[in-house]
Symmetry: C3
Subunit: 254 residues, 3 copies
Amino acid sequence: MPSPPVAVAAAKALDRLRERRPRIHCITNAVAQAFTANLLLAAGAVPSMTISADEVADFVARADALLINLGTLDAARRQAIAAALEAAGDEKKPWVLDPVFVDRSAARADYARELLQRRPGAVRLNRAEFEVLADREFSADALKAFVLAQLTVVGLTGEIDLVTDGAQFVSLANGHPLMARVTAMGCAGSALNAAFMAVEDDGFLATAGALLVLGVAGEIAAARSDGPGSFASNLLDAVYNLDSETLIAKARVT
Amino acid sequence: MPSPPVAVAAAKALDRLRERRPRIHCITNAVAQAFTANLLLAAGAVPSMTISADEVADFVARADALLINLGTLDAARRQAIAAALEAAGDEKKPWVLDPVFVDRSAARADYARELLQRRPGAVRLNRAEFEVLADREFSADALKAFVLAQLTVVGLTGEIDLVTDGAQFVSLANGHPLMARVTAMGCAGSALNAAFMAVEDDGFLATAGALLVLGVAGEIAAARSDGPGSFASNLLDAVYNLDSETLIAKARVT
Amino acid sequence: MPSPPVAVAAAKALDRLRERRPRIHCITNAVAQAFTANLLLAAGAVPSMTISADEVADFVARADALLINLGTLDAARRQAIAAALEAAGDEKKPWVLDPVFVDRSAARADYARELLQRRPGAVRLNRAEFEVLADREFSADALKAFVLAQLTVVGLTGEIDLVTDGAQFVSLANGHPLMARVTAMGCAGSALNAAFMAVEDDGFLATAGALLVLGVAGEIAAARSDGPGSFASNLLDAVYNLDSETLIAKARVT
């Protein structure tokens, strides 16, 4: 069986990530900050996390990509997001939107819709969050219509991860149920997505690559773990040690 | 020796927790957020943690129980707590108060006394915190008087954990000194208490059950650990894997 | 070869830390809070972390030393820092400044310069941060000049850690590259520095001792780790278990 092109591209992007060590600025919730930073460091990127509106523009200006995660949404956070997006837009930096928990609060959903109009390079979300933003039930057609309308890439994660930019489409079957038992796994995946955007211009390949690396590392980690505590540590180790051959051999891409 | 009824009830509540996967909204301090979320996930509950006053009511409305932890107490947090308690009261949702560090700040102690008047289903605290809120030295009588006056359940943790609702009383001898060497262990225990309140109507059994599960898991984890770092991981694994037989067999309840 | 005096002093300070269990109040960023608290607990200190300006003075008054870390710098944090320094100054408590990321934001650098005038007992930073605050390239002379001008101790961390108070100078070759792959390692090291200041009046010995303990524990942990996830756990275990003989035997001090 030939190596899937998405997996080969992911392996190359991971190599570039380790070589270039891009700076990723993350505006994310307090629950997710430490694990997100540790996942980025394990992969080879260099995180910064300040959410102070006074200085976020300085950090974004010195970063290679940006993550906007809506967790813990208050007035200060909105100001920081506005300042960060302005700085990113001025320099055409790639950014990823994680509209976490838009299914739990109408105010969040409205705000996420505003942010979508600012054209994130990619949106990483789960099915419940997708259905709120797309305002319809999930289907392959609904996903394609959403991506074409919003002019973005979507990485829709779940038991099977789906990634599409409207023209290209891939489904990724890697991963493990323990990933849902560690807080901020999705948030950290979105940050990894931003890191891949810093080293891969094709947003579809960047998004698929990040989710593939996380899924394969999750499988490797789960095989060594007794539960979610050891799994979280082992996942960071697995990302840190993942080599191209293993990534390509284990990728379940269709 | 017959199985202690508290341990049997704890095992049944843990089963229900894993089956029903209740949503627990936590207003807690930034130090504690990630470990608290991970403990809830390991036990089978689904955490949310936003502290934004704008949206906390939406989250509480969709949750099955609520934790109020006083760590990092500022104006924004007080607003969020007020909004959360209003939402919880409207729907008669169970909530747990963790008056962390009321012995370090008079302003916190005053605020905790206000919250006590809102009738938490349970209060989880340590001896120093108890003595400040009860305004007297600890004794079995002081504890009973406090519980009857406040019409709540108290889970007083320490080397031996004590739980009482005034009518029922239990002491739990499980646990391990390493639990005091991991930050937010008490805070996370209070969140687990809230999770048990979501699946067990008797607040006394819910509180005793949560503390028993944590104590037994702590002993199992300590036996495998080289220090507080591995212990924190192993504790999450132990909670995740804990079965009824082990819980009941290891319970040291009097 | 005789035991280096700095290592012997570090071992004695670590013994005192475990015996006296000093309270360390930390004003630090949300990314770093949990790991910082866990490192302090592993070493034997008792952390508190509130950043609420309303109550920080109460906490500092009950603490034995203070850490000021500039991560996530906003108006609320500046108020908290002002209140904390006032409380520390009133009681002449030792405090450590960690001017994290002053190389990324001019506003941070200005603020760090203001704080330097408040005379921290020690400043823990990396080379890029040093060069911004000293306003010149790093050299042994630049470091000495800075320390003498600021009347403080500097712990400059990197592949080799340098510690000086202008009169005494030491370089520490312990440590491991994985330390740079765990978020908040430097921040947590600064908190450990504050903990050592609580039990060792000589700021030079306190700073060198804290960095030495962290570096030696890092080497011990790395030898057992598969990557940054297991390393973070193992480091806490290694600090917890570190004995005087091992510390002195492994110290690479010149």
